[in-house]
């Protein structure tokens, strides 16, 4: 019998939670790229040794839906790295605690919430990019696109992948930018035409670029971070910045209202806006919320920031649900029927 008791004890010991060494465990929701999480977490915990970050990571749309679903019983203490248009929706639902981080003065006025104190504060900017596989282009005789309109040419039929805007923040910023730059009816007409050429809609914003890098689909509508990273790893990619302008989003940080660990969450917000954090962001992004720190990335043109479109975030977050519903109705779940028209 004792042997069995010992066995039971051993089994239950395996399942008991590991005691945490650090003082406060902070649950942080994020849509950052997985590759970035490790260095950000290390830097923050080095500066705040009594706080340990516990990440919950997924694509933008999914993290947003999760936060909204948990509205009455928030599980997150803070959000570090989510689209500003998503944070604006949370703010409209009264879920964010306005807080002015110590270094707020160093953040550009257009990369933070306008209210004082702000509900969210920006980190950096990410923007639409087309990843174009040069080896496959040569093999398949594809010309290099230079504009969004080019992507509707019949030669690209079935060759393009783009992220699903319902799950991916990158997908949503594309759709939102097309509707804003082309106008609403023309924007949908453009997407109808583009839909004819789409090989697949995928879950995340970085997957199209990874698929393009692997030649699985020669053209991926994605954003600049995976494009730059994959190019550095030697993938046969051309980074195309379409001439009509790039849709973009602010990656931002916020404190969740009602968190029992609000103090620790505010220290995270302090860190996220600090020059030390900007040093981290600059490794990955060309445009930062605090001016004067960014270094140009050799893979991107010098005038990169000027290529971003004039983006109306208030419009985008106010109409997000409606845009996504329309998108789903047109392209999701009925792709084959539309393709036959």
């Amino acid at each position: 019998m004792y042997k069995h008791l010992a066995l039971a004890a051993a089994v239950s010991a395996v399942f008991s939670l590991q005691a945490s060494a650090a003082g406060t465990q902070l649950t942080v929701y994020t849509a950052l790229e997985a590759e970035q999480l490790k260095s950000y977490k290390q830097a923050f915990e080095k500066a705040n040794p009594d706080i340990e970050i516990k990440w919950v990571r997924d694509s933008t749309g999914i993290i947003t839906a999760k936060l909204l679903a948990e509205k009455d019983r928030p599980q997150a203490d803070a959000v570090w790295g989510l689209a500003a248009s998503s944070l604006a929706i949370l703010d409209q639902n009264g879920m964010l605690e306005a807080y002015a981080p110590k270094d707020l003065g160093k953040i550009s006025g257009n990369y933070r919430d306008a209210a004082n104190p702000p509900a969210w504060v920006g980190m950096d900017v990410w923007a639409a990019t087309i990843c174009f596989n040069t080896i496959e282009a040569e093999k398949q005789g594809l010309s290099k696109p230079v504009s969004w309109q080019d992507l509707t040419k019949p030669e690209y039929k079935g060759k393009i992948v783009m992220p699903n805007p319902a799950s991916s923040g990158t997908g949503f910023l594309d759709v939102s930018a097309w509707l804003q730059t082309f106008g609403e009816p023309q924007g949908w007409a453009y997407m109808d035409a583009l839909h004819q050429n789409i090989g697949q809609y995928v879950h995340s914003g970085s997957k199209p670029c990874k698929l393009a890098a692997a030649g699985e689909f020669p053209i991926g509508i994605s954003f600049e971070y995976p494009a730059v990273q994959l190019k550095r790893q030697g993938a046969p990619l051309d980074i195309v910045l379409p001439k009509e302008g790039l849709g973009w989003e602010i990656e931002a940080t916020a404190v969740i209202k009602g968190s029992p660990k609000a103090d620790a969450a505010k220290r995270l917000a302090d860190f996220s806006a600090s020059p030390a954090a900007m040093e981290l962001y600059k490794e990955n992004f060309a445009v930062l919320a605090a001016p004067g720190i960014a270094k140009p990335q050799t893979e991107l043109p010098a005038d990169y920031e000027q290529r971003l479109i004039k983006n109306d975030f208030a419009w985008a977050s106010k109409n997000r649900d409606q845009i996504l519903a329309e998108w789903r109705k047109r392209y999701d779940g009925k792709s084959e029927k539309v393709a036959q028209q």
């Binding site: 019998m1 066995l7 089994v11 395996v14 399942f15 939670l17 790229e33 997985a34 590759e35 490790k38 516990k54 990440w55 919950v56 990571r57 694509s59 749309g61 999914i62 839906a65 999760k66 909204l68 679903a69 019983r73 080896i135 319902a166 799950s167 789409i198 090989g199 697949q200 809609y201 995928v202 879950h203 995340s204 970085s206 997957k207 199209p208 670029c209 990874k210 698929l211 692997a214 030649g215 699985e216 689909f217 790893q233 030697g234 993938a235 046969p236 999701d332 779940g333 009925k334 792709s335 084959e336 029927k337």
Partner: protein, 570 residues
């Protein structure tokens, strides 16, 4: 003289009786509570969630009517049905031929073919799908063989066919293992050829198993989302929609409604199967003689060709998954490296997920086998509490008819309920273990019951007359005798826990993320190489554990169970 003796006897017997009652009634009550909490309540929660109208959750009668009338639902349902029918129509005949070759012909190296054919059981359903991308995707090795790329209907069908083949095969192998040689002798003496013997003897005895295999393949396919998520492209199916509604959009009501739809084929086939089983009755009489196939070169050559073809296809797919996990940068740098096994910087949980999966699988195997085997023993070998026994039997049959996807949704709804004191379990390793045990309960329990039924009830009578407490008898006699079956249950639970994704996907938290979930996440993030690497790890771990347990079982049989051999040779 006799009076004090009987009094002296009575005292310890009362103690034994009390202990036994505690063991029997306590054990059964505990089992009842477990089954109610782990099986019944989560299922009821699905119905409750599906029909309660919460704002923004997509549930309620109105939402149900809207969903079931919508064009996109009909599209999804049509896709799901055509995929499931196609897969079953391909897999069942093929598995029948394969099983026939192994049981009714004289082809060589049967053990090898059997081993290869069961390989897909050791990996999550995403593995064949990932391999298909590397074989027939746009950059696939064999892309030239197909006119279009693999994404879509045929991708899902092929992936599911490989995933479900061993499941169908196991049912058909056991159905074809039983044959009465006297019937075949009689047939041939009456001048019936092998074709006639098949249609009048073999087919009637196995058609019920064919139906069961068809239903199993159909249900597994229609509720699986691992394959469609990887190779479905824009061809979407209901299971994927339920997964997206809950995980992606937090629309729990909508997920519950689709879950109920997915429960229907399983419930239907389960009840028809039970009805057929009752009608068929016992096929084998006690005087049956074991059928030995007669040599026939032409027949064996044909069947060997089929077996070789199927095994080659399975090895190609599994080998491709392993190979692709070792390629540095597909398709431009085909040098081999372990780059994809460096999980640190990728989404999905990496080595933590792998460690969690091993922990979860060990926990499921140990706790599950103890609970299930003790439960089966109490139900089979003890008298009294007849009503309780019946309730327990009924409850432990439910998981067989409930797909993992539906069970997982039920757990989300039940354990996440506001005010449920068990909410603390939500997202914990403990709940993952409970859910996995509940999911695979029926099969494991049937193995235990079969083993226990082979033991004579006289053992218990002997224990009673020796005044040994029942639990002691259970531990010292029953468990050792049934050890091979127990090891079989442990292996089954371990492998199932390593590979399952259908229920766990809804229940993990960042600390308890599992390897099979990591495969899905990595594929979602575009890291297909990493997904292949993690699938390979799962495959190797399951295979390693299976081999270890098989060796242990063989060793035990040789050392402690020599009586079996002697009995067989007498």
């Amino acid at each position: 003289m006799s009076l004090p003796l009987s009094q002296a006897k009575a005292a310890p017997r009362a103690g034994v009786a009390l202990g036994d009652r505690l063991f029997v009634v306590g054990g059964k009550s505990l089992l009842l509570i477990l089954l109610v909490l782990a099986v019944l309540m989560p299922l009821l929660a699905i119905f409750w969630r599906g029909f309660s109208a919460d704002a923004g959750q997509g549930g309620g009668l109105l939402a149900a009517r809207e969903l079931f009338a919508s064009e996109s639902f009909h599209w999804l349902l049509g896709n799901s049905l055509s995929v499931a029918f196609t897969v079953a129509a391909i897999v069942v005949p093929l598995a029948y031929l394969f099983a026939y070759a192994l049981q009714r012909t004289l082809i060589p190296a049967k053990g090898l073919w059997r081993g290869i054919s069961l390989l897909p059981l050791l990996a999550p359903s995403m593995l064949p799908a990932i391999a298909l991308v590397y074989l027939f995707g746009n950059q696939g090795l064999l892309r030239g063989l197909l006119s279009d790329n693999i994404y879509g209907f045929w991708g899902i069908v092929l992936g599911e066919a490989i995933y479900t083949f061993p499941h169908a095969l196991m049912i058909l192998l056991s159905a074809l293992s039983l044959a009465d040689a006297r019937l075949f002798d009689a047939a041939s003496s009456m001048g019936a050829g092998p074709g006639r013997a098949f249609t009048s003897i073999t087919w009637p005895a196995t058609r019920q198993a064919v139906f069961a295999a068809f239903c199993l393949v159909f249900t597994l396919t229609i509720t699986d989302f691992g394959v469609p998520v990887v190779v479905g492209g824009d061809y979407q199916v209901l299971a994927l929609e339920a997964y997206k509604a809950v995980v992606g959009q937090q629309q729990f009501g909508r997920g519950a409604l689709i879950g109920m739809v997915l429960l229907l084929p399983a419930l239907f086939s389960f009840s028809v199967d039970a009805w057929l089983r009752r009608r068929q009755g016992e096929a084998m009489s006690g005087r049956a003689q074991v059928f030995e196939p007669k040599p026939s070169r032409g027949r064996d050559a044909c069947f060997l060709a089929i077996v070789l073809l199927v095994c080659a296809a399975l090895l190609l797919v599994i080998g491709m998954a392993v190979y692709s996990s070792l390629v540095t940068f597909w398709p431009y740098n085909l040098s081999l490296s372990l780059r994809h096994y460096m999980f640190e910087d990728t989404a999905g949980g990496g080595w933590l997920a792998y460690r969690n999966s091993v922990t979860m699988a060990i926990g499921t195997a140990l706790i599950g086998s103890i609970v299930i085997f003790s439960g089966a023993y109490l139900m089979e070998k003890t008298q009294g509490q007849r009503l309780l026994n019946q309730v327990l039997r009924l409850l432990s049959f439910i998981p067989m008819a409930v797909p993992g996807l539906v069970l997982g949704l039920g757990y989300v709804f039940f354990f996440n309920l506001n005010g449920n004191p068990l909410h603390v379990l939500y997202g914990s390793m403990g709940l993952l273990v409970v859910c996995t045990i509940a999911h695979y309960l029926t099969t494991a329990q049937m193995t235990a019951t079969t083993a226990l039924r082979q033991l004579d009830g006289e053992f218990e009578a002997a224990a009673l007359s020796l005044k040994a407490p029942l639990y002691k008898h259970f531990l010292r006699v029953t468990v050792p005798i049934c050890l091979p079956a127990l090891l079989d249950i442990i292996r089954y639970l371990f492998v199932s826990a390593m590979t399952t994704v259908s229920a766990a996907i809804f229940l993990y938290s960042p600390d308890t993320i599992l390897a099979a979930v990591a495969v899905l996440n990595m594929d979602d993030a575009g890291n297909v190489g990493g997904a292949a690497a993690m699938s390979t790890l799962i495959l190797l771990t399951s295979a390693g554990a299976s081999l270890l347990l098989a060796a242990a079982s063989r060793g035990l049989l040789r050392r402690s169970q020599a009586w079996r051999q002697r009995a067989a040779t007498v």
